[in-house]
Amino acid sequence: MSTWDWQVFCKDTIDGEIVPRCFGSAGDITYLDWLLSAWGWTLSVSLLALLVALLLGSIMGILRTAPHRGWVLLGNAWTELFRNIPLLVQIFLWYHVVPALIPPLRGVPSFLLVVLGLGLFTSARISEQVRAGIQSLTGGQRMAGLAMGFTLPQTYRYVLLPMAFRIVIPPLTSESMNIVKNSAVAFAVSISELTLFALQAQEETARGIEIYLAVTGLYFVSAFALNRVFHFVEQRVRVPGMIGGGT
């Protein structure tokens, strides 16, 4: 392993021959083709799970700040449940246990089960952030909204949430980067994403370092890209006159 061999990515995955221009043709694929498709799976799992997590996490976080005991309890229970079981175990539950217990779910592709598993796991963390964001606003804002004649949902919609979401963008940024990293556990249920590619291609080619470097680089690029997206959003919604806002 003393020298680099980046040509490994140009090899055909079946016969190991180096293919000119590195991309396979006519149904044959190279390791580069495989790597890119694995990256696609990683991105799809991550982004869809992020959607699920943002949606459910926000709802649960909001419920936990509501002035109704039952809702608070529901939000708390949800958060504790999905936060205190290891992600890998949750993925196994979705893949092995849930379809066995609920027969109609048997036909659901494992890709969607992983999206659900990763999404619900992350929703617990996002619910924490959203709750903290809402609670960081002074109680006076809620009262001011209600005193203007807003109903409780209107008070959340127009007064509390716009500020709370601005406050939680930084922690949500790191959660979104975490979701890309955490999507790696999908290898355990045979989703053909980057980590599974790394494991299998390493074994087939014995060029582990090159393969791992490429995969690690792609994880890094993906997380960084999400970071930039959130940063852009953060800039766009800055409030003049607030800390960090324009004047």
């Binding site: 205190n84 290891p86 066995a100 791992y212």
Partner: protein
């Protein structure tokens, strides 16, 4: 609809399949926590020093570790350690080294925040009493930082305990693996995964309740 049957999980089965893995998971958690906090404190002090030849490598190490998925870190070390030491190393030993080095990056961020939370006047007071750097840190700053950060350090340890299940990637025999093998041998994977989930939940949840209580006590003492 499948009917659940947990009867096969007798004490004998549990002790012959699960116990070994459970012990390893706890060992891994404990070693990675102690080693990670020790190493993390060193990294934090390096990052907070004024010398670039200390801050830069520490920052690079911490940021690299934190931007790679843990599973990939586990795979990296499993690949690289044998190359470095010239002979193969068992999955369990590899996991212990990996987790210690990986968690150090996360603990160091916590310790750094903890050290920064101590007013500068405390350092000045230490120096004013004639203490050296090591004494000021060891006797004045770190004990306070450690106490302030105890709940966060423990919360990170709960996450660490959950993350130990990821040694699945290199086939180390941990708690989850123990349940998985029992499930395969008795052909009852649904039950074993369920019990594993409940066990992880009970441990993590009760620890996080303890941390919450501790947090309230610390808040009162302040």
């Amino acid at each position: 609809m499948l009917t659940l049957d947990f009867a096969f999980l007798t004490p004998q089965v549990l002790s012959s399949y699960v116990l070994k893995g459970f012990v390893f998971s706890l060992q891994l958690t404990a070693i990675a926590m102690l080693g990670g906090i020790a190493l993390g404190t060193v990294l934090a002090l390096m990052r907070l020093s004024s010398k670039p030849w200390l801050t830069l490598p520490a920052a690079a190490y911490v940021n690299t570790m934190r931007s790679i998925p843990l599973v990939m870190v586990i795979l990296w070390f499993f690949l690289l350690i044998p190359l470095a030491i010239g002979r193969p190393l068992g999955a369990e030993m590899s996991a212990i080294i990996t987790f210690t080095l990986f968690e150090a990056a996360y603990y160091s961020e916590i310790m750094r925040a903890g050290i920064q939370s101590i007013p500068r006047g405390q350092v000045a007071a230490g120096y004013a009493l004639g203490m050296r750097y090591g004494q000021t840190m060891g006797l004045v700053v770190l004990p306070q930082a450690f106490r302030n950060m105890l709940p966060v350090l423990l919360t990170q340890t709960i996450i660490l305990f959950q993350d130990t299940s990821l040694v699945y990637a290199i086939g180390a025999y941990d708690l989850l693996k123990g349940f998985e093998i029992a499930g395969k041998n008795f052909n009852r994977p649904v039950e074993t995964y369920l019990v594993a989930a409940v066990l992880y939940f009970v441990i993590s949840f009760s620890l996080s309740m303890l941390v919450r209580r501790l947090q309230q006590r610390i808040a009162i003492i302040r």
